[in-house]
Amino acid sequence: MPITNALTTTIERVSILDEHGNFDEKLGKGLIPDADLLKLYETMVTCRMMDEVAFKLQRSGRMGTYPQNMGQEANSLGAAYALNNDDWLVTCYRENCGLMWRGVPIDSILLHWMGDERGNAMPRPHHATPIAVPIGTQMLHATGLAWAAKYRGEKRISCTFFGDGATSEGDFHEACNFAANLDIPVIFFCQNNFWAISVPGRIQCSAPTVAQRGIAYGMPCLQVDGNDLFAVVYGMRKAIEHARTTGKPYFIEGVTYRLGDHTTADDARRYRDQAEVDAWKARDPITRLRTYMTKKGIWSDAKDAALREAAEASCMATIERCEQVEPPVRGDVFNYTFADLPADLVTQRETGHTHSLGQDPSQLPSASNAR
């Protein structure tokens, strides 16, 4: 037989609670207990509120460049919910909701965007890594973290998040390839929001799905409606089961949309149509859940109003806490460069100068402020 089949493969798409309120009982029933659902919804609303508050703060000069998560909350939240709390959560910057669920103080995230490294000092028990700024680089760390767990015989896995744009970077490829070929249990979760700043998704991946990127590595791949918390949880459970039992990676594409600008430094009206945004607003993961819970009788407009009020108050309190954090001291420019500072760096820190004639430590410009 001169032409034979070398491979046939398929990718499935999961949707449970769709934008019209249809709910698939077969897949969805019992997936998320009502009590959890309420807490998950609460987290989403708080996260959304934080976006709004942070945006306003940035506009009034009290916050640096800030990337809103608006519209994408269900992806990281569903993942954090399905994972164990000691699985590694290796995120980019649109996973605030998942981090909040994990218990990472939102203060950390805000401090980071306020230009303060202390925001990245993620408390160890959360098993969450610092916010990743260079696109596409953090997935390799996720692979390394899960590899370390495997080496030590721990059951811990990694779940790493990244955008559609990030899948264009070479590091994305290398992370998937290491995990697939060295048998490392990593869940690669792409939040496909169809834009990388102003560049449309087809420039990053003109294939019918982003999920099929996983086929290159022989990974099982799945596409889920990323604005459907149920679908995300369903997909994550499959992925987690696979990763834990086989020790191998899994690829999930969450189809979603960022409803806001890329960051506060961006103006998305320059490059995309309002009609597109409106269409996606109708698929908002929060609205969808609210309608579902209301129909189910476990939620009401009054409860929602109360929740929003509480969320706003809590966000404002967080902001105020962050703004009251003592400013970092000049010495911190130096203190974390190495565990032990070389003498030269000590001198630079003590003098505040780099020129040699200025490096007489007895002439400290502000000795008190140095540490």
Partner: protein, 322 residues
Amino acid sequence: MANLTLVQAINLALIQEMEKDDRVILLGEDVGNNGGVFRVTEGLQKRFGANRVVDTPLAESGIIGTSIGLAMAGLRPVPEIQFEGFLGPAYDQLCSHAARMRTRTRGAFTVPMTVRVPVGGGIHAPELHSDSPEAFYTHQPGLKVVMPSGPYDAKGLLISALRDPDPVIFFEPKRIYRAIREEVPEDEYTIPIGKARVVCEGTDLTVVSWGASVIQCMQAIEACGRSVELIDLRTIYPMDMETVEASVSKTGRCVIVHEAPRTCGVGSEVATQIMEKCFLHLEAPVQRVTGFDTIMPYYKLELEYLPDAARIQRGIEDCLAY
């Protein structure tokens, strides 16, 4: 003649060269429809078409690697790397290929490309958006490195870069993208790559700098009230040591100012060459006022890191007092 910002001057240079030479094409992340995150390429895709101003996938090695291919085929690609911190993934294609192509093929293939890169700190940006990596590309043979300090120079230097037969890294100090305006002739003019500019003459001490730091140097010089000569290198490689040597031979003292970390920064090269060339004229050791040998801090502390007028002034005064 118009009063332009650096962003506008670069935009103008690009327009004029693209109109003259259809081998010039722009590529990078967000350079097309969005006109670049700093709006440097604003309006260019409309004007020249999506074939000549191309939004690429988010992959810096890909941007430089395909630009090398474009250049090998005889085009004159102008890739943009969105921030200097994202040159990292492109480092290998730049240093292993772009820099080496002419040498390793004995001139059979060349890489006439200009890599545009916003550079430096001071704009309250997130991490990796405020670094100054010029020394890396200066140490790599086969690359030219340019960094203008104002709109007039930017236009003239960029046109030279676009016409250069070899790869040029063109660093654009983002801190002064819009902070200063200068008269920039509409007419075409070039500023040669490899020629420094004496910003102001002086007899007591020479300050050597480049990029946005030149502004801080001017403030410091003003503040210290002495006769200080200021040299803006403009091109970091090839370095115009002739101008520096002439100045330091006259003044006998020199302070070098840059944002990058001190260790193995470009300042050490300038200082060493001054020692080599002006040894008998030197009345004090050449001083370096630079970023610290630490990671560029997040923005709450960035002004502690960047050499400001006060630190420069102190360097000048300590050097004068020696």
